[in-house]
């Protein structure tokens, strides 16, 4: 695989996770438990969607150098099938209840913040620029979701049980975040990609600190699911894409 081919794949991964998570958070519009959180949750989704646009636009530019004319952000978002998406399995998991959405966000945000801070030092100036901007946004996301895990965990018996169940259910999807494949390793080698293996320890420290304050427990050793990076997804992604892509699929090229 050439450097630019690997870079294209890597940019899709960077863009697809925030894109899919933004779509999930968008499903909450008008359904939040209280108005303030309804707004907050979708504001986080808006930040993630903005970041996804930057990553996918960048991916399209790299692709244009490989196979002219390349695709733009819209074509990449709306006209790829599930097998071509490179997002983490974690972000495509259904929203469930508010505790499940919060747990998913918490596990993702801590990783995302660490990743973006590391990428701010990328040797690729485009990646460094997008990441430095996104890291500032992710810091507020991580703060909010950690706070909510504590409020729910250290809340009522019911909220505690729900968020504990969600953490346990989602845990098998976290291993993928710290496991690079050959494509990623090649880019880590050249200083373009972030070495996600180095993020595992600080992520775990943060997660353990928050879970302890939330009176929650991290699950023990468990089998970790893999697949998002090579397009092997859970059954949920296809359903999500059906809703996200229906307009462009039905009316190709439609514009607001």
């Amino acid at each position: 695989m050439t450097h630019d081919e690997a870079l294209f794949q890597y940019l899709l991964r960077l863009g697809d996770s925030p894109l899919i998570l933004a779509q999930r958070l968008g499903e909450w519009v008008g359904h939040g438990p209280v108005l303030e959180e309804d707004i907050a949750q979708t504001n986080v989704g808006l930040d993630l969607l903005g970041q996804a646009r930057l990553w996918l636009s960048c991916a399209g530019e790299v692709e244009a150098g490989l196979r002219a004319p390349g695709r733009d952000e819209d074509e990449l978002a709306f006209l790829r099938d599930a097998g071509e998406f490179r997002n983490l399995l974690l972000v495509e998991q259904p929203n469930g209840n508010f505790a499940a959405t919060t747990a998913r966000q918490f596990l993702f945000d801590a990783w995302h913040l660490l990743l973006l801070r590391a990428l701010a030092g990328s040797k690729d100036a485009r990646i460094a620029g997008i990441a430095a901007k996104g890291a500032k946004e992710a810091a507020y996301h991580a703060e909010r979701s950690a706070d909510w895990v504590i409020r729910l965990g250290d809340g009522t018996d019911e909220s505690h049980a729900k968020v504990q169940a969600a953490i346990s259910d989602l845990w098998p999807y976290t291993g993928e975040m710290f496991t690079p494949d050959a494509t990623e390793l090649a880019l880590i080698e050249t200083g373009v990609a972030a070495d996600v293996r180095a993020l595992a320890a600080p992520w775990r420290r943060h997660v353990d600190t928050v879970l302890a304050e939330a009176t929650l427990e991290a699950p023990g050793e468990t089998f970790m699911q893999q697949g998002g990076k090579r397009g092997v997804h859970t059954e949920h992604l296809g359903h999500l894409l059906a809703e996200m892509q229906v307009l462009q699929r039905t009316y190709p090229g439609a514009r607001w």
């Binding site: 969607l49 500032k136 810091a139 950690a146």
Partner: protein, 194 residues
């Protein structure tokens, strides 16, 4: 979609005879009148998102304006770009090139003193200090304090009291948090340090 980096747009030639152009001071003045669409009390100059104004090296009648958006997903970016075009056209600029620059990332430190005063008068507490983390910041989230323990004292823009409480880390827009004043009991927006 965002305006392309290199998308020169020829505006109505009637606005100015070819080759003529307004003084750079007049251009800045025109841009200082462009309001932020979501917080119209402050202009794009007050916000510090206008990073550069000049003339194209090869085309002296083409203004080159560089903008750094506040947030990656700021929905106002496209409207701001359109407003800049309108303002410059009205000021007699013949051709305009708009460039979006992401690095260095926008920070609330770039909001002018005048902008902070206007925000407060508008009922929005201006950002206090900065949280900018550079690329050299160690990879550690231990510094993140859950908002329940947030210790930043944000003064109420209405009564000035420091006895305020954070309601939510996100307010009416992504760049603001929601607070409540425990003295005058009014809720208010806080422009988060970024």
């Amino acid at each position: 979609m965002m305006a392309g980096r290199d998308a020169p747009v020829a505006v109505a030639a009637a606005a100015a005879p070819a080759g003529s152009r307004p003084a750079i001071g007049a251009v800045w003045q025109a841009l200082a009148a462009v309001p932020d669409p979501e917080i119209p009390a402050v202009s794009i100059v007050d916000l510090g998102i206008l990073r550069g104004v000049g003339w194209d090296a090869d085309d002296p009648a083409m203004a080159v304006v560089t903008v750094t958006p506040t947030y990656s997903g700021c929905p106002a970016t496209e409207l701001i770009m359109a407003s800049i075009r309108d303002a410059l056209t009205a000021a007699g600029v013949a051709r305009i090139r708009l460039a979006i620059e992401f690095a260095p990332a926008w920070t609330t430190d770039w909001i002018t003193a005048e902008g902070r005063r206007k925000l407060r008068e508008f009922g929005i507490a201006p950002p206090d200090g900065t949280r900018a983390a550079s690329a050299s910041t160690p990879i550690d989230v231990a510094g993140i304090s859950p908002l329940r323990r947030a210790r930043v004292a944000v003064a109420c823009p209405r009564c000035g009291s420091n006895d305020t409480r954070l309601l939510s880390q996100f307010g009416s827009t992504a760049c603001k948090a929601q607070y409540r004043c425990l003295a005058c009991l009014e809720p208010f927006d806080y422009f988060k340090p970024h």
